[in-house]
Amino acid sequence: MKDTTTLLEVNSIKKYFRTRKGVIKAVDDINFQIEKGEILGLVGESGSGKTTVGNMIMGIFLPTSGEMKYKGENLFMLANKRPKWLKKDIQLVFQNPASSLNPKRTVRQILEVPISVHRPDAPMGRTIHELMNAVDLPSDYVERYPEELGGGEKQLVAIARALATEPSFIILDEPTSALDVSVQGKIINILMKLRRELGLSYLFITHNLSLMSNVADRVAIMYLGKLKEVARTGEFFKNPLHPYTQMLLSSIPVITDEEELLKPQKIKAIGEIAGALNLPKGCSFHPRCPFVMDICNTVDPQLAEVTPGHLCSCHLYSSKSDQISDQKLTSE
């Protein structure tokens, strides 16, 4: 049954970068799955390794170790070694459309390349017209250069380019972070419409938790190369478990009193994400954690299921996990 619904499966992948100063553990043993049609929000601060995860799935570089499967097939190879259908099926949208679109090519030329490579039989003119329609851009924009478009429009062209191969899975790496909030809504709504209409799945990499609350089906929190918490969106925001998650939520600036009530009140943000070269021993979050215990300095907690479908890696829950889930069951 699993095979029919799981699109992407990532098992204990690691990515270590060897530098002159030492080894950087950018991604350190993480596991997750994405179901067909699902949006997984991968959230973390800068330097947490979330883009590295996206790049490994794309095959931009190889993981140091681990296993990646896409539709049951091995994905553990560089992009240039991948069979053509894999390249067609997985696409990526970058954060900054100003630098991810070739400034010397018109929108038409930008869209022509993926179509001619992956869909040689498609009628070019009509396909481009359909793509522009799908992202809600006027068709006469095809003769424009990227510099003649606004920031939001450029990102829509980047999305159209990703769609050009008819993928079933798109990695969105901070697609709206470089844009104003007034244009963010349009981009997100088009992405949501496309998912509905085309049955797409997204890995949505972002640092914006408020956005994820509206968009994602599940949210995964990443900190210094490790997943700290994974849960369905509703549960995640109602019942955040990991102290880091609570710290993130309490730091979000909000604009209504209603939202203010959703923020954990007891915890205040302190400290800064550690350098990837000198990872703290034990739990990597312990220098900033207000609930730090002796065990946190020495033993790194494993990601474990606290309540069904809600995973968290924290010693606060590892010993008591049975007890907590019992409590949950009786209270519900």
């Binding site: 909030v181 963010q184 809504g185 938790l209 600036p253 209603e258 939202e259 959703l262």
Partner: protein
């Protein structure tokens, strides 16, 4: 009514343009606002709405191709635009200071923090300071900016410090010369959310304790809401709405403010709003009437031709929109 004598800074009908190859960019159009002693105000708006240009005009650090086309900037009653350059520099050294958005580009990469901090302290003093005094003061300001190991910071180059530490150093330097007014231009935007929260809390505690006025510029509405007493909303080089923070966020009147607040995704969920259709108009040829007319769903004939005044809709709550003109 606001007591004139409490006004620390008042900007009146400021007009600034930029000369470029294509012609004249008509950026600021009659920007007016004021800051009281010890008051925290916020200026919000999308990027390219003239927020930073306004602040640069106050600081006297506009780019070379900028043209002042009118208006006054009254600081404690005297017009900064007509005072001598020497006097303005002296103000920058002792009274008004600015924290910039990107902490890594605001520091000189080839000098240690020690050199940069010492210079700031040395030149902002009334008299010639002894070396030991300079050091003492530097350490004190760094501690004030919540940097626990000032000696180590002083001996570091900017690249050896993390983003949050760099921004704290910038705040420490700004504090040296901000005896009256601190201008914070997106001080937390380049930082992660947990860091931004810390930086904003730090800034707030410092300005409250020292009774400094602050102008916070940001496009992050939530950050402004949690920080300031009064908000100005800026759109395409004009102020479109102003009022007490609570009032602006709970009862926004101008169509732009309403649409801007609506377009922020809520932590409480409920879907992503559509945002504002269209883009900020080009400053080469901005609309002659209300500058929001190209994106406004409520536009009327008059909006194309005439610029609305600021109409008072509530106590201290002003809106520049013909929808709120008396008798309409």
């Amino acid at each position: 009514m606001v007591d004139e004598s409490h006004k620390l800074l008042e900007v009146e009908k400021l007009k600034v343009g930029y000369k470029v190859y294509e012609g004249l960019l008509n950026v600021l159009n009659d920007v007016s606002f004021y800051v009281l002693n010890g008051e925290k105000i916020g200026i919000i708006g999308e990027s390219a709405c003239g927020k930073t240009t306004t602040m640069k005009a106050i600081m006297g650090i506009l780019a070379g191709n900028a043209i002042l086309m009118g208006g006054r900037i009254l600081y404690k009653g005297s017009d900064l635009l007509t005072t001598s350059k020497k006097k303005v520099i002296s103000l920058r050294r002792k009274n008004i200071s600015m924290v910039f958005q990107d902490p890594s580009t605001a520091l000189n990469p080839v000098f240690k923090i020690r050199q940069q901090m010492y210079d700031t302290v040395r030149y902002s003093s009334e008299r010639k300071l002894e070396k030991s005094e300079i050091h003492e003061l530097s350490v004190r300001y760094l501690l004030e900016a919540a940097l626990p190991e000032p000696e180590r910071i002083l001996d570091s180059y900017p690249f050896e410090l993390s983003g949050g530490m760099k921004q704290r150093v910038n705040i420490a330097m700004a504090l040296v010369s901000a005896n009256d007014l601190l201008i914070a231009d997106e001080p937390g935007t380049a930082l992660d959310v947990t860091l931004e929260d810390q930086i904003m809390r730090l800034l707030k505690s410092i300005v409250d304790k020292k009774h400094i006025s602050i102008i916070l510029i940001s496009h992050a509405l939530g950050t402004v809401r949690g920080f300031v007493d009064r908000v100005y909303v800026m759109y395409a080089g004009t102020i479109v709405e102003s009022g007490p923070t609570k009032e602006i966020f709970s009862n926004p009147r101008h169509p732009y403010t309403r649409m801007l607040i609506d377009s922020v995704p809520k932590l409480a969920g409920g879907g992503v709003p559509e945002g504002i259709p269209g883009v900020v108009p080009s400053y080469l040829n901005p609309p002659t009437g209300c500058r929001f007319v190209t994106r406004c769903p409520y536009k009327m004939d008059i909006c194309n031709n005439a610029t609305p005044d600021m109409y008072e809709v509530d106590n201290e709550h002003y809106v520049a929109c013909y929808l709120y003109e008396k008798g309409r």
